[in-house]
């Protein structure tokens, strides 16, 4: 967060608000090089950046993977549209994240994490409404976790490009979370009405 760069929000921020990230230097990597007093050079990472890149990449891959599963299995139109959006949106984000990771020389995983694989096989074993609800429940938790991780990177990362990625991604992740919550509410209310 130490670099001076311009924030170009896709979302809602006026150009005049563009501002540099400036973090707590107590969290910089010990070997950080500075291009000016107090301003680290680009593409340097601290441990938060590196762990964030690992966890976000695994999570993003799981999102696309599960999205494909849901598109092929669900009968619910809203969920299919949602799942397709996850494939597109997280696919794009994974690419952006991958290119930052490459520039900053951070190795990232090539597949989802173990827990995500297990969750997938559990969800894959279900059918119909049970499948829909399990997929949505997974989506709520995964997006809650992603939102926390993104805020963590914004607050304590060192690599400015990665932090910009986090800032641009967070509002979208919260939107996805809201969609998953809304769909869950829709489905569970239907379930109650059917009883």
């Amino acid at each position: 967060m130490m670099r001076l760069w311009i924030v170009a929000f896709g979302l809602a921020v006026m150009p005049s608000l563009a501002a540099a990230q400036i973090g707590n230097p107590a969290g910089l990597a010990p070997d950080t090089r500075f291009k000016a007093p107090g301003v680290p050079e680009a593409n340097q990472t601290n441990y938060q950046d590196r762990l964030f890149a690992q966890l976000m990449t695994a999570g993003g891959l799981a999102e696309v993977d599960l999205g494909k599963l849901a598109v092929s299995k669900t009968d619910h139109q809203g969920i299919r549209a949602y799942a397709q959006q996850m494939i597109d949106s997280h696919g794009k984000a994974n690419k952006a994240l991958g290119s930052i990771a490459e520039k900053s020389r951070m190795p990232v995983p090539a597949e989802p994490g173990e827990d995500q694989k297990m969750a997938r096989s559990h969800i894959d074993g279900l059918k119909g409404r049970e499948f829909d609800l399990a997929y949505l429940a997974n989506q709520v938790v995964e997006h809650q976790k992603a939102a926390s991780l993104l805020a963590w990177e914004i607050g304590s990362g060192e690599d400015a490009a990665l932090q910009r990625f986090a800032m641009e991604t967070l509002p979208t992740v919260l939107e996805h979370l809201q969609m998953a919550r809304d769909l869950t509410a829709e489905l569970t209310l239907q379930a109650q009405a059917a009883k």
Partner: protein, 465 residues
Amino acid sequence: MHTTTKIALFSATALALFGAAAISDPLPPDLTYRPLPSLPFSKVKQTDEAQKPAVMDRQHALLGDRYDLSDRTIADVAMSGGRKGVQAGVRVKTAPGGEWDELASLTPQQIRDRNLLPLGFLPLPHVKQATGGQVFPEKQIGEIGRDEGRDLRRFDVDFDLPDHLTPEFPPPIFLTTHPELGDVSRGDLLTIRNFYEYMNGIVTPVQMEGLRLLLTPFPQEEFNQTEDRKVAAQSTGVACLDCHSNFHTNAAFHLTPDVRPQAERFRLDTTSLRGMFNQQIHGSKRSLRSIEDFTEFEQRTAYFNGDHVSATRKGVNLPDRPNQVAMMAQMQNIIDFPPAPKLDSAGRLDPAKATDRELAGEKVFMGKGRCAECHNPTQSFMDNAMHDLKLERFYKVGQTFNDQVAIPDGPIKTFTLRGIKDSPPYLHDGRLLTLEDTVEFFNLVLQTKLTRQEKDDLLAYLLTL
């Protein structure tokens, strides 16, 4: 089957069912816990000092974007000590196409979709969100430096608001035990050096001891002896009344203890301690049920970090509940609101003393403006409850401003409006600069569609409280 086998089988099924949860890793610990510095103190200090001009420029740019920061006071109105004017006018800037009357005619959804919510209504970031911590205004730093030789200046940030937008300093002190005396502050700031001389003869021995403790500095998060302090020399710490100067507020700010991760913590503007005797819940979010609980706990966690772990490392003061805490509480509980000569005992305007405009304002307050639904005149203009104003109906959550991620405020305690002209800036984080700003804010949030005249009347009324 043996019971043990049954249990084993049961656990195996449970594991198969809930296996995913059982092996899933928790998020990294420093989402919740404060990491220790990874660099030596000298290096951190050097970098912090080098960053400081950019930090201040960035914050001033944000403030300038959001607010009109000029120095314009309301004619013939002063704060209760008579030493400082009350700032006039709506200071929150509107977006083009989103002037106040237009905003009032739109739905929350329309305002959100068209991005028209004035930015000054959004949460106000700390001057350096990633570090956070307590930041004192210049006058407090100067006075404590002169009187006690204690350094309250941080090397990484300065106070960000112009002095004319903060409360009068030092503020007057009114006692419930001596209404006949009026302001007993002698126009000076209470410190550990002068409190005995100033208060001897006015307070009881118990209150005096409570006052001494409230003025005694203890090591805290940014002001202590370890390498993660943000003050140049090892510090003896901070006292309660460094923020609550003369039991009021000097607008020193901090981050809420109640939220993590760090980027989502909201700013906290110091509250006044006037009228605590009538307040049933304390803290904007914590809803602590007594002044004793609040007093005891603030010291336990090094003032507003919600972090007993790092507080313990820096040294905590654990005041003894039946003796010290009780005395600190009893001292706080005799601090009165400033006099409001136009109000009767039930908090209503006396028609013989109030102007027509003030009376019209009271009518708006009690009726169309809906203010009294939460700011109840018989309860010191509080309701001892928390309310969710749901401001996020009007904007997209999750955007980052100066490293702060704007998430919904959620339920916040209703603040008193007694003596309200004395305590700018307004709301829990100080995001509103004038009373006119608060009128526009609540007019929008409550969708009450007040007219220009009704807003003006309401302001006249608020100034009588």
